[in-house]
């Protein structure tokens, strides 16, 4: 893996089941998905960092009508998760019935996982802790 993180590697890490975030070399802010400049200090020097994989469920939706690529997977959850390290990611949410979204507890702790679709593509995902 190259020293300067790239978007391509970020996406490949997810496909490899090895999610990593960006970390600002200057101020230490953890950033995912990638940004070319730090939201904290503006520096463009980034390095890779591992994350604990623990996060909090901030919000979510259930996609019922999806583009062709995802149509067979619907209905499925998409959630916004705030990682323990402070950054927020969009991901699939596993472990809940998509037809009972009112039972999903906002603010609950979730942990990193992956969802694999029919073609073998992996999605970043979270499941109840």
């Amino acid at each position: 893996m190259s020293e300067k993180p790239t978007v391509e590697e970020y996406l490949q890490n997810i496909q490899n089941g090895q999610f990593k975030a960006y970390k600002c070399v200057e101020c230490g802010m953890v950033i995912a998905p990638p940004s070319g400049s730090c939201y904290g200090c503006g520096s463009s020097k980034m390095e890779w960092t591992n994350v604990s994989g623990k996060g909090t469920l901030v919000s979510f939706t259930v996609i019922h009508v999806a583009p062709d690529e995802f149509a067979e997977e619907a209905p499925y959850y998409i959630a916004i998760v705030e990682l323990e390290e402070g950054t927020r990611v969009s991901a699939r949410l596993l472990g809940f019935d998509p037809l009972k979204p009112e039972e999903v507890p906002l603010g609950s702790v979730v942990i990193l996982d992956y969802e694999i679709n029919k073609t073998g593509k992996k999605y970043l995902a979270f499941k109840p802790a």
Partner: protein, 390 residues
Amino acid sequence: MPLNNTNIVSAAQTKFGALEGVSLREMFAEAVDKATVDAGIPKKDIQAAFIGTFIPEMLVHQGHTAPLLLDFAGLKGIPATRHEDACASGATALRAAVMAIESGMYDTVLVAGAEKMTSVSTNKATEALAAAADDQFESSIGLTFPGVFGIAAVAHMQKYGTTEEDMALVAVKAHKNASTNPLAQFQKEITLEKAMTPRYIAWPLKLFDCSPISDGAAALVLTSTEKAKQYTDLPVKITGTGQASASMNLCDRADLTSFHASVDASRQAYKMAGLEAKDMDFAVVHDCFTIAEIIASEDIGFFKPGEGAKAVREGTTSRDGDKPINPMGGLKAVGHPVGATGVKQAVVVYRELIGDAGPNQVSNHDTAIMHNFGGTGASCVVNILRRADA
């Protein structure tokens, strides 16, 4: 200082809806003709054109639309530039035209927007719309546009207690207003029960929470104060304008219950116009989804954060309320041909301000705000418009 040199002297739109057999360039030319020759403005007076289209590459397999559309509309030769900021393309084009006139470079320009969306399948159109979100980080996991606003709705419901019924009431209001607007895609009132039909698109958003896929075009003629009298006795001035951007990714927003670009752009526009939300007689906001209208009504300062739903419930935003919002039916019921929308919003504000809105006329109509935002809320343009004699 409020802007003083930009005047809308003519405004028109085609019917919005599934315009079968009408191509992008034909609907564009229809709107241009209505706004120029039909309004007594010779096409030779137009010095430049500012065009909003969103994604004709995917919808009708056509890029480089500005010269193409102008040529067909009989305006070949003048500077023609396309502006693209997703659903804010129309108002972005309008803002560029405002700057061109205020700079003194041109006296009279055309602003027009158009989109042809119904020639592809709904899934293909959904895919095209999804291109306005971040493809690598959000669309690629299956997040859709209704999904983006579903996430915002869940956050708003959690923080403020907004309900699915509150959102449905926005749809009921939109359809009621559009029922007397012959240019609207849907001209039928709906009951609350119908609006609540549990046909989910992206929970908690249901079919009637979503604006439709539409075809349509809209056009405006803008001119300097010196020239305005040639064309009309009752110009409408654009006295303030604002524009802001925000992160494309929803996950990068600290607050999912408000769109910061809307807050920033509206504050800029109010400041430039020297006015505040309380000075606005009505608003035309970007109600691509019902929750988007509720949030926009808070972001532009009509109501405090969390009180947008209450305003709908109490009828404050109805056409006969204290702060009417989308009095002709909004994107929700009039339709949302993406590139046309921001221009059409200005058409609506113009007609209301000059007292030409027929059965959809609001009673106080000196000053209004229009709010057009793009994609996940990553772009927003807000303008303050005021009747020149007000």
